[in-house]
Amino acid sequence: MSLSGAVIAATARPAAQRRLVSPYNPANAVTASRFLTLPPFVWAVHHGYHQLATLFILICGLLDKLDGLVAKVFDCRSQFGEIFDAITDGICYGFALLLVAWYGWAPPLAVALVLGLGIGNTALRFVYARRAGRALNYKSYAMERVVAYTGYLVGFATSGMEVRFFYWLFVPIMAATVLHDAKRMLLDAVP
C-alpha cells in the first residue's frame, strides 16, 4: 500500500474505534501556516538581515509548538496531522538549512550530513509504515529532541552563534539517534 493510501486507510478504516478527524482542521492549518515563514526567511537571508532571518525561523519553530497545543484544545489530533507535522518539519528546516549553507552561513559538509541523515530517517519511517500496513508515525523520544535542535541549528547560523561548534556536535548526536531508531523501525516488532 502506498503511503497516501495508508493515510486514507488509517483515517477512514478505524472509524469504529476512534473519531474521524477531517484533515482540514485548526491544528493542520497552523502546521501549514509554517510554510508562510519561508518566503520572508529567504528574503532576509538574501539581503543579509541576520536578525530578521532569526526572527522568521523562530516564528516557524513557535508555530511547530503551537500546532500540538491547538490539536489538544480543538481535540483534532490525527495520524494524518502527525505525519503532516513531520513532513512540514522536514521541508521547513531542510530548506532553511540548505539556504544558510548556500549563503555560507553554515558549514556545508555538516549540513549535507544532517540532511542525509534526515532523509535516511524519513525513508526508514516509510519502511516502518509499510511493515505496519498502515500510516503509523514512529514515535521517537530522541528524534523529537533532535528535530527541535535542528530548528535551533538554523537559528545558530542566522545569528552567527558558535556555528561550527553547534553544527559539528549535532552530527554525531543525530547519527546516534538515527541508528537507534533504525534498529527499532527495521528489527523490533511493530506495536
Binding site: H47, L58, E144, Y149, F165, H180
Partner: protein, 73 residues
C-alpha cells in the same frame, strides 16, 4: 535592517538558547529519574531512556555553546 541592537540581540539569543537548554536538561533529568524503577526490557522504556539521555546531552551542548559565545569557555 535590525530589530534591536547587536548587544541586545546577542543576549536575546543567549537567553533563548541557554534558557531552553537549561530547562531541557532539568526536564529530562526528572524524566530519567522517574524511569529509575521501570522495566528495562520494555522497548518503550528503553526508547524513553535513550531519548532523555539525548535530551541531557543536547541540553549540555546548548549551555556550553552559550558560555563559548560569551568567551567563558
Amino acid at each position: 535592517m535590525n530589530v534591536m541592537s547587536d548587544v541586545a540581540f546577542k543576549w536575546f539569543i543567549t537567553l533563548l538558547t541557554g534558557g531552553l537548554a537549561g530547562s531541557w536538561f532539568v526536564y529530562d533529568t526528572i524524566n530519567l529519574l522517574k524511569l529509575r524503577g521501570a522495566d528495562g526490557r520494555d522497548p518503550l522504556v528503553r526508547d524513553k531512556r535513550f531519548g532523555y539521555v539525548m535530551g541531557l546531552i543536547i541540553g549540555v551542548v546548548g549551555i556550553i555553546g552559550c558560555l563559548r559565545f560569551h568567551g567563558v569557555m
